[in-house]
């Protein structure tokens, strides 16, 4: 018999800590080598850690949501053989301690008694169900309620013994608790709350976005872009697209416009850590993607090296991979500027949050037909808003506006994208 103390391995390049997402084993469980033990998440990816040896789990460290330092003893396994017994040394979990236990009984009772008077008051006023369990109300009132599809059990009667008056029913209706005469749907009052611990990717998202909003003074800028010419071109290209070529959406065109524009606005294709700004020659394009687990930003690396078709294919590939949860870790980080598009959902403007440490994010809103003045004639035009945010510490508003105007110029004159 030996004790195998299994330490949290270094699951990725430079990773110093990882968050426990889900345990697949529990104490006392017999496991075979390579059985899945635990899912942990690092800055870069979620990794399933396999059992290094067979045996019986004798202890585990940490709960889902706890962040452990690499090298922490994750679990101990009682093994059959006597070899490979690494010394068992207790290592404390770093950061996120186990969730606080419920308050001690005495405190709980204090809270309860503090709350109870109000509840008692309600209790007195509330209709006490009679032996038949029905509310106290006259036949005429019951008939009215039935016709209005209102459950009298939901109304607190103001009369003696909680008798419900016509006024109570009127008040109930006026308070909007029901759809009233025309409504068919009964809307019972709901109770209960669900408290969920925010762990894993969602916690990561929460931390990153909070940090971004806390540290970065956002400058947001919304501009309208006329899209008729681009839409005509897009339709034409799509009509002639070859076998195996991805269908062109707006994103590759916007990407191309950014790639053309960014060399003149290098501060918007950069990383800023608060001390120094790193301006990138390549454009590593982050594509904000809604995945079943939450927001992720897969990256099209070296977008500047790709033509419109390759851009379309790459954008499709990395975002699909992210949605399906099989993106490579390397493709989930390293972007230098991010595009976020809610256009398909609608929305006329947004205030995107910068994907730190980047310095700019370009948001795409809904493309719609609008009446606009063309000289002195009103014409229907396809227009779309770009809502962008910049790190105002390193990008001046003037420059940000100039940059968006440049992008707009490319999009409105799409031939220039290919010059």
């Amino acid at each position: 018999m030996g004790q195998y103390a299994f330490k949290l391995p270094d699951v990725g390049e430079g990773v110093v800590e990882a968050e426990i997402i889900e345990w697949h084993v529990k104490v006392g469980q017999v496991i075979a080598e390579d059985d899945a033990l635990v899912d942990v998440m690092t800055d870069k990816a979620t990794v399933e850690i396999p059992a290094p040896t067979s045996g019986t789990i004798s202890s585990i460290t940490g709960e889902p949501g706890d962040v452990l330092a690499v090298g922490t003893v994750l679990l101990t396994i009682e093994t059959e053989g006597e070899e490979t017994a690494e010394p068992v040394a207790p290592v404390e979990a770093v950061a996120a301690p186990a969730p606080k236990a419920a308050p001690p009984a005495s405190l709980a009772s204090v809270i309860t008694s503090a709350v109870s008077p109000a509840e008692e008051e309600i209790e007195i006023r509330a209709v006490k169900p009679s032996s038949s369990g029905r509310a106290l109300a006259s036949p005429a009132l019951r008939k009215r309620a039935l016709e209005l599809q209102i459950d009298l059990g939901e109304i607190t009667g103001s009369g003696p013994a909680g008798r419900i008056s016509h006024q109570d029913l009127d008040d109930f209706i006026a308070a909007g608790r029901t759809q009233g005469a025309g409504g068919n749907q009964k809307q019972p009052r709901k109770t209960g709350t669900v408290t969920e611990k925010i762990i894993g990717l969602r916690r990561k998202i929460a931390q990153n976005l909070a940090a971004s909003k806390r540290n970065i003074p956002h400058f947001s800028y919304v501009e309208e872009v006329e899209m008729d010419a681009l839409e005509t071109l897009r339709a034409h290209l799509n009509a002639g697209r070859k076998e195996g070529q991805a269908k062109l959406t707006l994103l590759p065109f916007l990407s191309l416009a950014l790639i053309k524009t960014l060399p003149d606005f290098a501060a918007a294709n950069a990383h800023f850590d608060g001390q120094s700004i790193t301006k990138y020659a390549p454009v590593h394009l982050g594509i904000a993607t809604a995945t079943p687990n939450g927001l992720m930003v897969p990256v099209v690396k070296h977008a500047e090296s790709l033509d419109i078709w390759a851009l379309a294919a790459e954008i499709g590939r990395v975002s699909t991979a992210a949605r399906e949860g099989n993106g490579k870790t390397s493709e989930l980080s390293g972007s230098t500027i991010t595009i976020t598009s809610l256009g398909a959902l609608g929305g006329i403007a947004s205030t995107p949050v910068i994907n730190a440490p980047e310095t700019a994010i370009i948001g795409v809103n809904k493309l719609m037909e609008k009446l606009v003045f063309d000289r002195d004639v009103v014409v229907a035009r396809k227009v779309m808003n770009l809502s962008s945010s910049f790190d105002h510490r390193v990008v001046d508003g003037f420059d940000a506006a100039r940059m968006i105007q440049a992008v707009k110029g490319y999009l409105e004159n799409p031939a220039t994208l290919f010059m």
Binding site: K128, S130, S131, R134, L136, S138, R142, L146, R163
Partner: protein, 472 residues
């Protein structure tokens, strides 16, 4: 064969079916009512109304007779006579007037009435054997079954000209000298007591150990006392066996076989729903025991097929059926309705009368209620005394929830107390508290004062009986 299509077909013209037809007609529906045995049903033709006519006449006769025997109130008269055939005619005229009135009301509501017996081929089609010959096929979008109930027969006491149902008893042309009544439920007691007052020697044979099992002993005691005072024999825990030449044979509570003289025997052991010879088996509806199963809107398991009244179960009372009939008509006219009474009053026109609405103290306690009970005797009520109704042990008893004084049940026994049943039912439907009843000015002198006083008694403050004085 004639074919008729109608939107609403109602089968049965009793107190459930005819109000359904009237209301549906009022609401502009195309209604056809098929009735086999007289508009007004059992209630008007053979039940409530004829029996009340006999009970009233019997009371009149007994009163006059008592004055002839021993003058009272300064009122004397000589030996009164009763011709049962005369009473029968009076009753028949009364019934004719009422059923004729129902016919008029149906006509005014635009209801097509077909006299005949309907047998269903499927849930929406029936063939009516017309009373005047021939047949009529009717198809309907909605069918309402209101076929009622009839007297239950005992296999060893089949109905004939000696063993009578309540219907048969009310058709007698001559008063029997002796009458054995099998069953001391409300029908047997009402009719048995009426015939006893008309001068028949009546004997009750009841299988249970008490009369009127739906009421508690406190309520039935005045009736038992009346029977004793009027020398009406009551055999409890006794089982009827059959008849012999002399009369009825039964085993008494001790298991001994007895025979009592009985010119006629009334079998009143309950009523059974009329569910046979209707073609119900072709209608794909569900049954609930002997009754047709319905929900709180009187829908059967078959879409567009409804059932109301006695045929859907207890309580088999006309006023319940009437409400269900109105309700179904309104639902068929597109209204939202549900059968949701707080309580349905039950009345026995015995001597004295008994009325009950809602829960009695025992039932309320069993339902988990902590109750307060107030009881007020008619003996302390001027009006009762002035009517000569103060000595029959009558009272009003109210049962309320102790915590909030909401009235849970009202019961009473006494002369004419049935007329208070409406106020009792209203109090329950309105969710009245003891204070509401005590705070309503009740007319003096009326029996209704007894209700107000019962509520005051429950509150510890009656005016006309004494209670221990509170110290504060």
């Amino acid at each position: 064969m004639k074919l008729l299509h109608t939107k609403i077909l109602i089968v049965g013209g009793g107190p459930a079916g005819y109000p359904c037809a009237i209301r549906a007609g009022q609401l502009g529906r195309d209604v056809t009512l098929v009735d086999a045995s007289g508009l007004g049903g059992t209630c008007l033709n053979r039940g409530c109304i004829p029996s009340k006519a006999y009970i009233h006449a019997a009371g009149q006769f007994e009163t006059v007779q008592s004055h002839a025997k021993a003058p009272a109130m300064g009122l004397t008269c000589s030996d009164p006579k009763l011709e049962l055939s005369g009473l029968l005619k009076w009753k028949d005229d009364l019934v004719g007037k009422l059923t004729g009135g129902v016919g008029q009301l149906l006509k005014a509501a635009g209801v097509k009435v077909i006299v005949g017996h309907a047998v269903f081929l499927d849930a929406k089609t029936c063939e009516v054997a017309l009373a005047d010959g021939g047949s009529q096929t009717i198809t309907a979008e909605n069918v309402v079954l209101a076929t009622g109930s009839s007297e239950a027969e005992l296999p060893f006491l089949p109905f004939d000209d000696r063993v009578l149902s309540s219907t048969g008893l009310l058709e007698l042309a001559n008063l029997p000298k002796t009458l054995a009544v099998v069953g001391a439920g409300y029908i047997g007691l009402e009719l048995g007591i009426a015939f006893a007052r008309l001068g028949t020697k009546v004997t009750f044979v009841e299988a249970l150990d008490a009369i009127l099992p739906q009421f508690d002993a406190e309520l039935t005691r005045p009736v038992v006392r009346w029977l004793k005072q009027h020398k009406v024999d009551l055999h409890l825990s006794a089982k009827a066996k059959g008849i012999n030449k002399k009369g009825l044979v039964f085993t008494d509570a001790k298991g001994n076989e007895q025979s009592i003289a009985a010119e006629k025997i009334l079998v009143a052991v309950g009523r059974k729903p009329n569910t046979t010879q209707l073609g119900l088996e072709n209608m794909a509806i569900d049954m609930d025991g002997a009754f047709i199963k319905v929900d709180d809107q009187c829908r059967t398991a078959m879409r567009g097929t409804w059932a109301i009244g006695d045929v859907v179960g207890e309580p088999m009372l006309a006023h319940k059926g009437t409400r269900q009939g109105e309700m179904v008509a309104e639902i068929l006219a597109g209204h939202r309705r549900r059968f949701d009474p707080v309580a349905i009053a039950a009345v026995c026109f015995t001597e004295p009368e008994i009325v009950g609405v809602g829960l009695d103290p025992k039932q309320a306690t069993a339902a988990g209620e902590d109750v307060v009970v107030g009881k007020f005797p008619f003996a302390a009520l001027g009006k009762a005394l002035s009517m000569g109704a103060g000595a029959d042990g009558g009272f009003v008893r109210v049962t309320a929830r102790k915590s909030d004084h909401v009235i849970l049940g009202i019961h009473g026994v006494g002369s004419h107390i049935a007329e208070l049943s409406g106020e009792f039912a209203l109090a329950l439907e309105m969710g009245a508290r003891l204070e509401d009843i005590a705070g309503t000015i009740h007319v003096h002198p009326t029996l209704s004062e007894g209700f107000a006083e019962s509520a005051m008694t429950a509150l510890g403050q009656p005016l006309h009986i004494s209670m221990p004085r509170s110290r504060s």
